[in-house]
């Protein structure tokens, strides 16, 4: 299946059990505590990472607050 992560189309193996949390593990995303997630344009509550499934066509943004100077 294909999803978009931070503007890049990404191909993933089919996995119906995949959640946002498990995707962060799968991609080995660093400094997890400083990341916020937007799913299809909406901020995803942190507590929902573990029970939000990732579906084909989803648009995800993993955003750090450490770097950017906004």
């Amino acid at each position: 299946m294909k999803i978009t992560i931070n503007g890049k189309e990404t191909a993933l193996a089919e996995n119906p059990a995949r959640t946002v949390e498990s995707l962060l593990d799968e991609l080995d995303v660093a400094q997890r505590q400083y990341i916020s997630v937007e799913l299809n344009g909406e901020i995803l509550e942190r507590d929902a990472f573990g029970n939000t499934p990732v579906q084909s066509g989803d648009i995800l943004e993993f955003l750090y607050f450490m770097g950017g100077g906004r």
């Binding site: 931070n6 503007g7 660093a30 400094q31 505590q33 400083y34 916020s36 901020i43 509550e45 942190r46 507590d47 943004e61 993993f62 955003l63 750090y64 607050f65 450490m66 770097g67 950017g68 100077g69 906004r70």
Partner: protein, 414 residues
Amino acid sequence: MQTTLRFDSLLVHGGLEPGPAGATSVPIVQSSSFAYETAEALEDVFRGRAVGQVYTRLGNPTTEALERRLALLEGGGAAIATASGMAAITTTVMTIIRAGDEILASSSLFGGTFSLFRDTLSNFGVTVRFIDPLDLEGFRSAINEQTRLLFVETVGNPKLDVPDIPLLAEIAHQAGLPLIVDATVTTPCLATGASLGADIVVHSTSKYINGAGTSIGGVIIDRGVFDWNSQKFPHFEQFYKKYRAFAFTARARKLVHKDVGACAAPFNSFLLTEGIQTLALRMERHCSNALALARILKRHPKVAWVNYPGLEDSPQHTIAGKLYGGRYGGLLTFGTGEKASAFKVINGLRLAKNLANIGDAKTLVIHPASTICADYNAEEKALMGVTEDLIRVSLGIEDCRDIIEDFEKALDSV
């Protein structure tokens, strides 16, 4: 591997990443800004899609190395290094409070913090109530609908009172409020923020963490344990939603720290990563020298009184022993009865330097009533425990025989 190291090893290795050409000290990245090959790459960093440096006011590799180490030393969390200890306190408080809010603070604070709370913040519609930090019921009963945080020092400077921080934390948490602790005097060596139950720890790193009196600095450590999801903190809502435990650090980094601009200089951060390596060794000596001098002064015929939590008859002895592992810090105060003789003692000292600082490798003294506390009225001085005859001593790490001889000779002149 770093988080599994013991404390004294973390002082040396915590947060250290391999440097260029195998360098083992933290590289000084003396650059105000950081270039990217493409517009897309810089856009990604600004948006937060990628981690990267942008501008040293917001972050810097040398400063980040220091921040990683300090966060590990406090028992985990996120750290923000600042230009000074006052910058750390100002940034912390401004991240949490808004106009109309109230702060409950210890009445025996360091003078700069007292001035920030009493004079500066009052111009922005913030009320600060000062309470004796040993009066736990006073703290509990002073909490009202407007209270947003509690602020205390681990050991009051220069009063040397030792509040029961874990109990104050309990009082704060029962009311849904964070406890901010200034642990400059005790350093993470004598107790970590985690062991004290503080939510946010601040230090003036200018003191023991630097250790050599070479630069001014501060740090804020957010332990990531306070629940900001509360009607008291509606301004944290977006940050809580996105970052949960680290809502405070996110709000500080994205707003107050960035906007106030009191960032650490890379060279100062380097000096701190060097200095902090020997913190545990130095603290041992600061503490043992303080105890040795306190005992000598206690018996000296020209000394009217000595205040050191390490003396068995100090009212603070039991609680200080319990919270700080039987170590009582490097500060003591004593009096000779009057201002004139205090000045004579200071003028008679050769080794000890007369200056406004603490936590140096060198032994330091000051007469607070005429210097760092000169702006305060008699009532305020009394709250801070500052009498006209009080001399504050910050014990250095010299051979304690030389320190004792210096004070004995100076006292002879009285």
